[in-house]
Symmetry: C2
Subunit: 408 residues, 2 copies
């Protein structure tokens, strides 16, 4: 037996089935027209944002990093709840504009921005988080050709990293951002060349569950930003302090104590240096805002025994849930939270492997999981599917095609 990850708070049973937004899994699948299906709860996203707002200083803006979940209804909801939107490509810019997001609220980070992407961003007045001196030159040249003023923030590659983060994005050599010691000269050059100065973006890691690590990182970010602002010789209109807020995926993971982070940040904000008097502060969150609000439903198409091991074979799989299958930046595969959605309040009585329909041993959804007895026709739920699920998986693999998605 291998443990399953913790099911996020807020999911309950109706008529014995997993329910989201008051509808049972079966009802949701019927409404969507079939499985596999991602269901996202608007209420859980709203509650998550409300709790975050209550915990954080009022002065702190919250940006939504749409890479976590670009599904149009989720994007529209989050654009309404958040103060700003962070994008990572020209494709995401198009989606954001189609969803009616004001481009003045959008920032664009990404180490490989193509000229066409820079041009689209500059044309719409999007803030560019500049990742290198070369990118700054290209953006200035493009803006000049368009006779437009580009809005520049500089993405800093800090000397520190976010301890315990799932993805380290600072500390030492990195493809992201400009090494901190080179930022002042580049900022001064860009300002002198006519760019509208927007400030700094300091992102040092993601998916951390240790509040102390985030508190320490935020303190480091403020110290570094103050030093850089002084060296640049211009105040920071905006300081994007990055994200890093993680969610519990695996057995033993504890939810992040955001009240503690908020209290520490409140204290910091009370004694801010004068250089920050006009600064808007922001954090940039994706997974934390939407990850736990999503569940992936797949139907069991076969129950089989092989040498005494029970397999529940579903019509879903890694083509929609690459991370849950353990194939996305994972060294040791562990189980995400999972359940038999159609027997949500039944006693777990047997060990089974829940697998996808793909013809590859990589296609695992839950290994040696203790579950209620289930068979053909039952629905399986994989939790923590609200972020980096549908859009971060190879949906064309083996000709399967994308999953359905639904916001309730």
């Amino acid at each position: 037996m291998k443990p399953l990850g913790p099911i996020p708070a807020g999911f309950g049973a109706v008529d014995g089935e997993l329910a989201v937004g008051g509808f049972t899994a079966s009802q949701l699948v019927k409404r969507a027209g079939g499985t596999p299906l991602f269901v996202y709860s608007a209420e859980m996203m709203r509650q998550r944002m409300a709790r975050l707002r209550a915990a954080m200083p009022p002065r702190l803006h919250v940006h939504y990093a749409m890479k976590a979940n670009p599904y149009r209804p989720v994007l529209e909801l989050m654009a309404g709840l958040a103060d700003g939107l962070d994008i990572a490509s020209g494709g995401e810019l198009s989606l954001a504009l189609e969803a009616g997001v004001d481009p003045a609220r959008i920032s664009f980070a990404g180490p490989g921005k193509r000229d066409e992407e820079l041009q689209a961003a500059i044309t719409h007045g999007v803030t560019l988080n500049i990742e290198s001196a070369g990118e700054a030159r290209r953006a200035l040249r493009i803006a000049d050709a368009l006779s437009l003023t580009p809005r520049f923030a500089i993405r800093v590659n800090p000397e520190f990293e976010l301890r315990g983060s799932g993805m380290k994005m600072g500390g030492g050599a990195k493809p992201f951002g400009v090494d901190a010691d080179r930022v002042p000269a580049l900022a001064r050059e860009a300002i002198a060349a006519g760019a509208e100065w927007r400030g700094l973006h300091i992102f040092s890691g993601s998916q951390a569950l240790d509040a102390e690590a985030i508190i320490e990182t935020q303190a480091n970010v403020l110290t570094l930003a103050q030093r850089l602002a002084e060296e640049i010789g211009a105040p920071l209109p905006l300081l994007n302090m990055g994200g890093g807020f993680g969610i519990p995926y695996f057995h033993g993971d504890q939810p992040l104590d955001i009240e503690r982070i908020g209290a520490a940040l409140n204290e910091r904000f009370e004694t801010l240096a004068g250089a920050f008097s006009q600064t808007d502060f922001a954090i940039e969150l994706g997974r934390y805002l939407v990850g736990e609000a999503g569940v992936y439903l797949a139907r069991i198409v076969d129950r089989k025994d092989s040498h005494g091991t029970t397999y529940l074979v579903t019509d879903g799989g890694l083509h929609h849930q690459l991370a849950a299958s353990g194939n996305f930046g994972t060294v040791v595969r562990r189980n995400y939270p999972a359940a038999i959605a159609t027997r949500f309040d039944a006693e777990p009585v047997e060990e089974a492997n829940i697998v996808g329909c793909l013809c590859t041993p990589l296609d695992r959804l839950a290994d040696q999981a203790l579950v209620p007895a289930a068979g053909e026709g039952d629905l399986v739920a994989i939790f923590c599917a609200g972020a980096y699920g549908a859009s971060a998986s190879p949906s064309a693999f083996l000709g399967q095609g994308p999953a359905r998605e639904m916001l309730v």
Copy 2:
């Protein structure tokens, strides 16, 4: 410095650039309309098949497993070169039918076949590689409702595995196929229930580079198939012996000695048991037929230095090359073969990290690679991109969208 994998034979330089089919990388990109671009060489696929045919017994059929590369022109080419086509989903069936493949030449394997997929396959007379007793029951019920005779082969979960294979698909409990000792009863039941008996499918692993391991496995397959045929009491119209033929991806990998495999199989075929007198034998290959014939071209959009490390940031990445990034069934990341396509015959002089444009540290294409000096505008080539590239990667991730593809 970390070594790069071996560049497959057949790629050369024209005017100092990597060339495919007589065209330089720059010409190919221009023709395709931009990067990132997968280029597949028809000539290399033809040559690969010709060498395989020359090495293998004339009696051995070669099937193309289209999961490796379902790009329509590649599919059409391979359908013409191969004796049969193996599919893994209803989606692949649709693609195959659109490409004009005769459904009588198609076999369908996959552990999670949905009822609609079974129905489509039965309607078109496709051979089902039955994966479980439950699936056999469902297929018989569906065929009965359609008043059609379903064509059944049984996929066997053998007791042995393919030694040294990248993906083990036999030996012990598996979600694939029917445990060998249960096959005879199931086959007799299916035949009695009116299914057209097509034989056995025994697939025990993939991506092996050791000829001896494949020879041993093929011997095991023949022994097992003979035993099962005798226990079933009916001859095997077809024995799909599986695949397993690997290609060299990494430094130190040696190409598979197919002539040795062919010689051993020729010997076996000369002393076949009477049970096989009417049997068509087939091997099922995907990656081996097309993998080395493909190259992925991405453009360098930024060259940057971070703390003394050089990064070549491209407009491609893991959204098209998940396996090359080391995020698909890989524990320790190693470099695929890679090169600066626009400086293909230049001396390697510096160490650089070639990365993708995605805002994640997972997006690596070549780590600490020794390459010629390259910068903005140069093209990077990642080799061994003909299989499990475009269709096996999360192309929607971060709003990037799919790569271009081209068969030359």
